[in-house]
């Protein structure tokens, strides 16, 4: 049971992260295409936002691992 639960948690977390990151990086590349000279500043901003987006799914993954290890019994 806990294996299924962890699988669902980690899978949905990965799905959410994929949607969020794809939106972010699509806009990033669009921004570079429009204004190639803004690449440096855009890269920094994008990486910060990437860290912020990546945080929530990784919290899901961490709790999935904890469920898998049987911490919440």
């Amino acid at each position: 049971m806990s294996i299924i639960a962890a699988g669902i948690m980690i899978g949905l977390a990965a799905l959410g992260a994929a949607i969020g990151n794809s939106n972010l990086f699509a806009k990033y590349i669009e921004g570079i295409a429009r204004q190639p000279e803004a690449r440096g500043t855009l890269f920094g901003q994008t990486m910060i936002l990437f860290g912020l987006i990546e945080a929530l799914p990784i919290i899901g993954v961490a709790f999935g691992i904890l469920v898998l290890l049987g911490v919440f019994k």
Partner: protein, 254 residues
Amino acid sequence: MEITPKLELFGLTFDVTVIIGSLLAAIIVFVITIMATRRLAMKPGKLQAGLEMLVDLARGMARMGHDHKNAERYIAFTFTLFLFILVANQIGVISLVTSDHHTEVPALQVTQETMKESNAHGVVWLKSPTADMNVTFSMAFAIAIVGAIIGISRNGLGKFLKVRYATPMGLLHLVEAISNPVTHAMRLWANIFAGEVLISILLQGITSGLAGLPLSIALMAWMGFSLFVGVMQAYIFTVLANVYMGQKIYLDHH
């Protein structure tokens, strides 16, 4: 999964890996900064130039939460926090020390029963202190409380409560008072914890001889990613600490 040695003192349980890890991180940061600033010169050497770059980075981070004049007071805090978390995050990636040795150490709660209870294969002695929830939560709540104290002493209790909580946005700020430090702490903890667990799972797979070569390549890739994540999460934690403090201190802008 491995268990950690624990120490009972004054009715409280201390995690030995957290004590060792945070002490080590503090010592590394201390030694590096002392070495870099021992012989200050107008024409800086390599180490001093590197440290000056880090201070500039800290100034930029402080300016994200405070205005330019006030930011100067928070550079030391930002610099210390960033460097400590940066080193602490990398400890677990670079040197994860675990032992399969099963000699019982009852003083540190390493016995056959505790191993069996948590289904453990070994004992971990050195890991990132930030991979422990207690460390990140205490840091985040300390930052939230200090921010509130500075805000109250700067504006007075009446104005602080009136501007932040007696407005239509007050309810949101009330929820934020708990949810901000919680997400602040979880963001750092979950990233480092997930990274470390995956490293130890891959290591177990390699040593058990299932599929050595592909797992070794996966381990290398994941460790590289973990180094990157450690730097980025240290940066984000420090920036958010400044932003959350700034929200509570400068009430006229909000």
